[in-house]
Amino acid sequence: MDFNPTKEQEMVRKMVRKFAETEIKPIAAEIDEQAIYPYATMKRAAELGLMGMPFPKKYGGSETDYISYVTAIEELSRVCGSHGVIVQTHCALCTWPILTYGTEEQKNKYLPDLCTGKKLGAFGLTEPNAGTDAAGQETTAVDMGDHWLINGTKIFISGGGIADVYVIMAMTDKSKGNRGITSFIIEKGTPGFYSPKHEKKMGIRGSIASELVFEDCKIPKENMLGKLGKGFKTAMTSLDVGRLGIAAQALGIAQGAFDETVEYMKNRKQFGKSLDKFQALAFEMANMYNQIEMSRLLLYKAADRRSQGLPSTLEAAQAKLACSETAMYVTTKAVQFHGGYGYIKDYPIERMMRDAKITEIYEGTSEVMKMVIAGSVFK
């Protein structure tokens, strides 16, 4: 057991922190306020190699370990949660399933552009009537002999309308329940596939989430991803990877809010002394510091297990539950310690608190994380 970061992990943190502080921090408030997708900085992130970190060099990735990968998302999210989730969704929910379940043809066709960030990936599972109960898929895929015909609606899809490549779950045999779900690769611009509306969100407003509509959308037979009826497994295993990314995003938001609060407390004076001299506040900061570090250790443990190819469903759920609850706790306290300044948009703290909330919801809610953990306890 070695708790020291490797040279690779340390250099990744240094590089992403510098990039995030210099290029992303100045635009974070604006993309939040106007809910605009940060095309320019995401292009820069792709050039630096942040869109294919843990994937094979053969397909354009860099073969980093998963701790380096989560470190990058953590550092992006430390200044802007939107950038963090864009990278994580692209990597965990589109690139990873194509790498893991795709045919060699599919990998050669999609991965080089995804790993180098020339194309952006997205993932479509959630529907109006299929949230946590993802098995209730109403989108259908019908085998028409020489093509698949897709019909249905997906909602809350991160990167919807922006992304170029989508991994989409659809019901191919309703009588089989979970085993009747199959996953498909659908490209932007396919006739019958469009995203009519962007959601108006509370937080991570720079990451666009949209509705996806499929109306008699014809896709080639070779775009089925993995085996027929195995789409639920594709989705669940992708979400295991996604939970590392969301945990990293939550951790980064918590760290960012904490760091801002430390600086604020050193400078803000009330009753003739700076806020850090008030023990009630300083002790709470000690607790926040500890919560962040405990969450970080759980996350790095889960990421390390994935790097080693060990099972990590439980550890990813633990990390995601801990990091997202820490993000909510730390950002709420950070707003409190900023007082009125924490509630207005002149400081980044209120944005961080709004961004933090989603981490308890997507990639499986905190309740689902507890189901996974409890399931392991009482197996």
Partner: protein
Amino acid sequence: MKIIVCAKQVPDTNEIKINPETGTLMRDGVPSILNPDDANALEMALEIKDNNPDTEITVISMGPPQAKVMLEECIALGADKCILISDRAVGGSDTWATSNAIAAAVRKLDGFDLIIAGRQAIDGDTAQVGPQTAEKLDIPQVTYVKEYKFSDDMKSVEVKRALEDGYQIIDVKLPCMLTAIKELNTPRYMTVDGIMRACDPNLEIKVWGAADIEVDLDKVGLKASPTNVFRSFTPKPKGKGVYIEGDTPKEKSQNLVTGLKAKHII
């Protein structure tokens, strides 16, 4: 094209604290970085390589073994090779002795077309090592470079040299030494692929001792250094400046003159 970049690892601060008893820099707890002007020098080399992919960039540094970390970052930025001159025999060198060691190391390399150094390091602020190295290698030098343009045959370079009150445009034949200022460019970020290359166990940053560079031992190190630091100290901060008030330039200048007279300066 073969380019050598001279780089130094320095403490990451412009407000270095000095130990009042020993008169030496207090480096504890201060992170180390690639000297900012040297980052501009490396960026210029990388730009040249972007346009001429057969360019080879070698970064040379002199310092303690931990300076390797800075050289690994140079690899992650895009340098091809790095050499660290590190030996107790060269420890404590002043600029004269340092340039002796660097010139000796350059002579051990397989030739070069261009040497680029940063204008000066933020710890010593001497701006001497680059020019001295050029003298010892007997090559032309242009300091304070803010723009450059190579001739079509890449045999000479036209550079804009920043001066306090303007600039000079100088055409210089290669091989030569240029020293870079921060206005020259904006250094790039490391890349993930660059980091992976820097972490590749097959990549070796060469560490050369005094014997490897075949330098005269009476020309390097503390004893050989003609510069003796008499005393280092933190200067007392100047008093707060006075803002001259006034609605018009005329009124302001009158107030200035009144103030100067009151202090018997004029």
